[in-house]
Symmetry: D2
Subunit: 294 residues, 4 copies
């Protein structure tokens, strides 16, 4: 199998290596010539055998739109595009319809595993037709961890279903991280706890809360036991928001995941207009002193 891979950033770069380690021939393109195998999407298309298979691994939104638009114009009938980035599932349906109008196949694939995927393999959630997913199986098999396919790969449903599952996966991830983080703070707040990093470390085997995220927390605490060097400003990157929006759209209560999202929003506020108002109100009705603005 010979695949084209567009986007060789933090994720794509490692994925190319893992694909190659798995025996897949990969021609990679990136705007950064230092990591690219070819100089343009045209060259990439020219380098691939037909029917072509092109994996898109670029930032969700406008850039993915542009790349898929260009591929739709330049690929041939029977070629196939896989969007492995973090596109919103509703985009997939748009992209799939556009490519179908050109007789180009389309599948979406949520990819989890972060910077550890090269070494561990990636968890994969794919959406598309049976036939199209079948076609790309060798690539999925190269990317995923060894062992049974069903433990790390799923064909979730039609186009968009893979990214929907990945979105929910990331929403869960927000909730898991928030739960651990609240526990961390509860331990940090209590002076009877003499060995906080050791407590997280001892949870790694045997406890109900053991997980890969826990292992990473142990690693983070090993590097910086009090997290003294790390700021409390936390970005969010789309999937958490979309998960809550889907909760709303489907009338699903999702209080823990939403709490995680809102905690990130709060972490980024230099000053909270809401809490200024609460302070102003307490002053108005109770004469409670306010603090001066920072």
């Amino acid at each position: 199998v010979h695949i084209g891979l567009i986007g060789l950033g933090k994720m794509g770069f490692n994925m190319r290596e893992r694909m190659r380690n798995g025996g897949i021939e990969v021609t990679g393109f990136d705007r950064n010539p230092e990591v690219a195998d070819v100089g343009s999407i045209d060259e990439l298309i020219a380098a691939l055998p037909t029917p072509r298979l092109v994996w898109v691994m670029v930032p969700a939104g406008d850039i993915t739109d542009a790349v898929i638009g260009e591929l739709g114009e330049k690929l041939s009938a029977g070629d196939m595009v896989i969007d492995g980035g973090n596109s919103r599932f509703t985009e997939d349906q748009k992209h799939g319809a556009f490519l179908a109008s050109k007789d180009v196949r389309f599948a979406d694939c949520g990819v989890s595993g972060g910077v550890w995927g090269l070494q561990n393999g990636y968890g994969l959630m794919a959406g598309g037709s049976d036939e199209d997913i079948e076609l790309a199986l060798p690539v999925f098999d190269a990317l995923r961890p060894e062992g049974e396919r069903a433990d790390s790969f799923v064909h979730v449903g039609g186009v968009g279903a893979g990214h929907y599952a990945k979105m929910v996966h990331n929403g869960i991830e927000y909730g898991l991280m928030q739960a651990y983080a609240e526990g961390y703070e509860l331990l940090a707040a209590k002076d009877i706890i003499k060995d906080l990093p050791g407590t997280f470390r001892a949870w790694q085997k045997g406890t109900v809360v053991r997980s890969w995220l826990l292992d990473l927390m142990v690693k983070a605490l090993d590097e910086d036991p009090g997290l003294a060097s790390i700021g409390d400003y936390v970005e969010d990157s789309g999937e958490g928001r979309w998960t809550v929006e889907e909760a709303i759209a489907n009338a699903v209560p999702a209080p823990a995941i939403t709490a995680a999202l809102f905690a990130r929003f709060s972490s980024r506020e230099d000053s909270s207009p809401a809490m200024k108002m609460v302070s102003a109100l307490r002053n108005q009705f109770g004469g409670h002193a306010t603090r001066p603005a920072k």
Copy 2:
């Protein structure tokens, strides 16, 4: 009616004046001689006709404990104590039993209205026996707003019930303030909103969200339209915490009130250990940059 009033702070001072305006004779004691009518609790007791009626209006906790302890030792059988402070309802049951052992009557009374109570009258929630509450009705009538008694006074139940109702009242107050404050921030965040103070002002009459708290927000925005001078640091004072603890004890879901309490906790953190951990984790699995600690 001649009553003794112990505690002439922000609340008690105004309450003495409102009682007097309502035709009640009041002898007030406070550790601050500038506001006190007598120099000691002994003098206060000596000044009152028997059976004596003593209203305690001091900070909840140790100080209320000490004052009620002293009254228990010094009052006579048939006298009556009313705790009008913000004691936890579980304390009332303890205080009531102690005073009963001395044949001294006891009632608790939650008092709402803040610094505006002098002018507007206070909302009152009383706990105690029918006979004891009956005895104190003239005082309750002086303190409450004019109009029908039932619109501003309630005999909630036995000893402790008044403070339980006041605790819930304050828990609700936390939730109301948080809801308005979130709305304020949502308006402040949107550049299409050209007249934020005017919007709050226009909600005062006719809308579903009109309330006394809204009127106070309008006042606060009138004084400082952008709340520029007010910090976003918000204290909490007991009842909010107790309300959530009662929610837990009674298995009552109370997510909005609890959100309000947690927002205050967050407002007081210079740095959030939890969010440091979330940031550290994102760095571990995704290579996402962390910010340096402040």
Copy 3:
């Protein structure tokens, strides 16, 4: 002033009456001939003096879209449309641009007050140009409560700003109702509370939590002291969802308002898939018994 009013449902019917009481001539149209003054939009247009003023008061979404679409085709340059329904603010910008392409003016107006507005007057939040809002002032003045205009009417900003403010108003309303409701349940859960309806009643004057919503709760408890006849199934109608979506879009933490929305979602679930999973998990790791499905 002579205005056309399209939509004579629960809100529009009462608004026509209040406008007329305020000296405005109103020609009303509704698909229900029993309440309509004319038989069609064409007749309504024919009945109005130019430049015409038409107030649209129909359900948000497709119906509002259709009515505004029809008006755009049939009105003349210089006429003006006001959308007083609960449209999402993003719709206003679309409607405004469409009507502008026909040289028809457009303003949006959030209307609060529910079924009591006829008697009390409505709180109004308008969006549009200074000139257009000025034009409609006599109608706003007829609809709003008596007293100072600024206490019940605000020109929030350009087209869409009125509905944005109304959306936030309704989001706050969700939060306020939830806070009171949690407090209600906390009182109901405690057997020391002997007079729950009386407690709400006594909060109406003097307390910090007094509000119009509180007055309505007193009324509801007066009609049915234990709410025995009322189910716990609660609908939501758009603005609550949009408020949380705007919180997400603007990175504003809104935990109390969101808690209120999720509580409604939960209230409508016959069975919670999420809690089935939690139960299944507890069984898996701890051997805790599950309950059979309902």
Copy 4:
């Protein structure tokens, strides 16, 4: 090493077996004679070499109190008691002081691992003096999984610190389960998801959300793919509540963990008084229909 073990229920029974498999001699007592090795605590004490080591594994609260009280009266100076149950950490400090007054040593140990601990080993969090913990190390080593001690055992701090850490562990567990469960419901709500159990299964390797709890969910879905047989009623058992109470006591915002607790409370309500009130209110102000009570 020869240890006495009091309490041979779901946890204790398995722990006795694992201790024995690890070469520890165990004399077990339980009120259930079918599982007990001896007929009374007296016999258990008589069977142990001095200084004695007794592990208490009975339900937290009154029963633990009674057992520790009896041991305090019957053990000799220099003997040691370990409370391995789910006592609240504040109880440990009381029990430790009581036993110290008898010159009996005391340590507390949080034990995680559920019904899988026999096979996998238990995660252990101990509180006590260095000397006392040292003494019990062979028992901890038998109970914990193989491998490095620090990966499954921690000496958290003085008496009570072990149970505090276990409480936080369980609080985190609540949050993790809720996050996964919300994700489960979001997948279940979406018809484009054609293979929900397969999606959870495919998360087991390679993804960021992989964990032991995830493995158990896969197992649960394997047994009952739609969880059709499982009710949505979820108990809570103390530690979740205590975690939120500690969040309050230490002013730590813990919204995700608290959301998990409240979701359990809601799951157990046949009817929600709070949502009845919200429904009643919507009827009052907007004329929205209510549903009849169930």
